[in-house]
């Protein structure tokens, strides 16, 4: 019932992107996000499109999966587009009552839509090619310098990986609880907002109880294996940059340079 959320869902495949160090992919995603904001002309967007298309191609993830993530932002996208079109002052293209669509509005709306879509696709490529565990490993290592100013980097990344790990479990659990209650005649769609909220109680109570129980079990299991936080902890698979990561960084630097050049030259 609630399975079509792509953000944070790994797609197993064997591609260069899958094999890259998660830190490289994190930096890459960051570079891409910056570039999307650097480009502000259509030739610039064309460059971003080519970059994105090549990434999708070499990621070996079916295009269908990549676009699935867009479903979640469809509403935001529509609202952004409509408001930008209607509320931007400028040369009027079409008018109906107090509503007017301006040339500048359409222009802005298209740019916004492109940026939003590219942001989601860009980050989806990262999450589709990186397992949640790799991702938090990458984050932990990238953020390690913050340890110096007493940011509990290891603890944060541990919490993140546990949270990510629990998402599919809790989704599955929600599905089961919903079914068990539907079998007892519960209706989750009927009624007004208050009624709907009330109808959620038979779903939420068992879900919370199970989440707490799982958290408790996990804490116990971790303690039983002598977990005591990040100090002096070594990793089973320490992250190491390979040749392909250096190449990837070079490509990223080049790509970002193009973005800056476009911006400076005003293309």
């Amino acid at each position: 019932m609630i399975r079509d959320i792509t953000l944070g869902q790994y797609y197993p495949a064997d591609s260069i992107l899958h094999r890259l160090d998660p830190r490289t992919k994190l930096s890459g995603t960051l570079a891409f996000i910056i570039s999307v904001f650097l480009f502000h002309t259509f030739p610039g967007y064309a460059v971003a499109t080519v970059f994105l298309a090549v990434m999708i191609k070499i990621s070996k993830v079916p295009v269908k999966f990549i676009f699935k993530g867009l479903k979640a932002i469809l509403m935001i996208l529509m609202i952004t587009v409509v408001f930008n079109m209607v509320l931007t002052p400028g040369q009027i293209l079409w008018k109906w009552g107090f509503l007017k669509i301006t040339r500048e509005g359409v222009d802005l709306a298209v740019r916004m839509a492109i940026r939003l879509i590219y942001l989601v696709i860009g980050s989806s490529i990262m999450t589709l090619t990186t397992t949640p565990n790799q991702l938090t490993d990458g984050l932990e290592k990238s953020l390690r310098p913050l340890n110096k100013i007493h940011v509990p980097v290891h603890e944060i990344s541990m919490m993140m990986s546990i949270a990510l790990r629990f998402i599919p479990i809790l989704l599955e659990e929600t599905d089961k609880i919903m079914k068990a209650q539907i079998a007892r005649g519960a209706a989750f769609e009927n009624g007004n907002l208050i009624q709907k909220a009330k109808n959620m109680i038979p779903l939420l109570v068992p879900l919370f109880i199970s989440a707490f129980r799982r958290a408790n079990d996990l804490a116990m299991a971790m303690e039983a294996r002598c977990y005591h936080g990040g100090d002096h902890r070594t990793q089973m698979k320490p992250l190491k940059y390979a040749a392909r990561d250096r190449i990837a960084y070079c490509i990223l630097a080049g790509y970002l340079a193009i973005g800056i050049a476009f911006r400076v030259m005003g293309i």
Partner: protein, 297 residues
């Protein structure tokens, strides 16, 4: 009041790399009043199958008829269907949510549109039929033991007065005594209410004693659908599916192989005892006759 499945297929995540064919071309007819066991290894499709029976899952292809009507027809009232085909899931934790047992059991009947008083009457009846003590009605469902939670969960569905009651692994996680208690209670329900009961399990021992019809699932297909006796005679094939016949079947077959002419189809310990005693007595009297009766008793 029958359920009929025709060419039912179900595929999880079709068109992706996670595609699983959970059910393959299932044909099944479940008439009124039967006590049916569904058995299969983990992942054999038995849970998927039973969720089709009350329209919690829509088949990828094929039709399911309840009293001759297609339950996935446009205007079919699936809510009524779900109150007539009651399904109790494996984990009571998935459905208990109220602050006391009685209110929790009332949830089903009240969803059917009954008033609190009517619902309570149904709840009390159901709770007493599953052997739940009245003094515990006011307790929180979360402070009960595993066996008691299970009883409350069963009562929660039973209170809706279903005509067919499906139980998914009702004995999982219970100790042997709790297991026998629950199964005896279910058998009593079958007798008292005359409803159809479908019992899902992966343990032969559990259900051999109770059911009159046994459906064996393997890799999403129904492999056997017959009386327990007939199914257990295929005990060697059952083993290849990761299942086993009741231990007594093995003993009886071993005895037969060693030349004792017992009834190898016996499925319960009681039957086996009778058969073995009969054969032994026969042998003894034959022996007596052969030795001309000069052997002392």
């Amino acid at each position: 009041m029958s359920i009929e499945l025709k060419n039912v297929m179900y595929t999880y995540s079709p068109g992706t790399s996670y595609e699983i064919h959970a059910l393959k071309d299932i044909d099944l007819n479940i008439p009124d009043g039967q006590f049916i066991g569904v058995i299969g290894h983990t992942g054999s499709g038995k849970s998927t199958l039973i969720q089709h029976l009350n329209a919690l899952i829509r088949p990828t292809s094929g039709t399911i008829l309840y009293n001759g009507e297609d339950i996935w027809a446009d205007k079919y009232d699936r809510k009524t269907l779900r109150s007539e085909v009651g399904l109790v899931f494996q984990y009571p934790e998935h459905q208990l949510f109220e602050s006391d047992v009685l209110s929790d059991v009332c949830f089903g009947p009240m969803n059917q549109g009954k008033t609190r008083e009517e619902a309570e009457a149904e709840a009390r009846k159901a709770l007493s039929q599953v052997g739940f003590k009245e003094k515990n009605y006011g307790k929180s469902p979360f402070e009960l033991s595993g066996g008691q939670k299970k009883r409350v969960a069963i009562a929660g569905v039973l209170a809706m007065n279903p005509k067919i009651l499906i139980l998914d692994e009702p004995t999982a996680g219970l100790d042997p005594k709790g297991r026998d208690d629950i199964l005896d209670q279910i058998a009593e329900l079958h007798a008292a209410r005359g409803i159809t009961i479908i019992l899902v399990s992966h343990s032969m021992e559990d259900i051999a004693k109770y059911v009159e019809r046994l459906i064996v699932m393997n890799h999403g297909e129904t492999v056997f659908d017959d009386t327990p006796k007939a199914v257990f005679s295929h005990y060697k094939e059952l083993e290849t599916m990761g299942l086993a016949a009741p231990q007594i079947t093995y003993i009886m077959h071993a005895l037969k192989e060693h030349g004792l002419d017992v009834d190898a189809d016996a499925t319960t310990v009681e039957e086996a005892k009778r058969s073995i005693l009969a054969v032994l007595n026969e042998n003894k009297s034959a022996l007596l006759k052969a030795e001309g009766g000069c052997l002392d008793d």
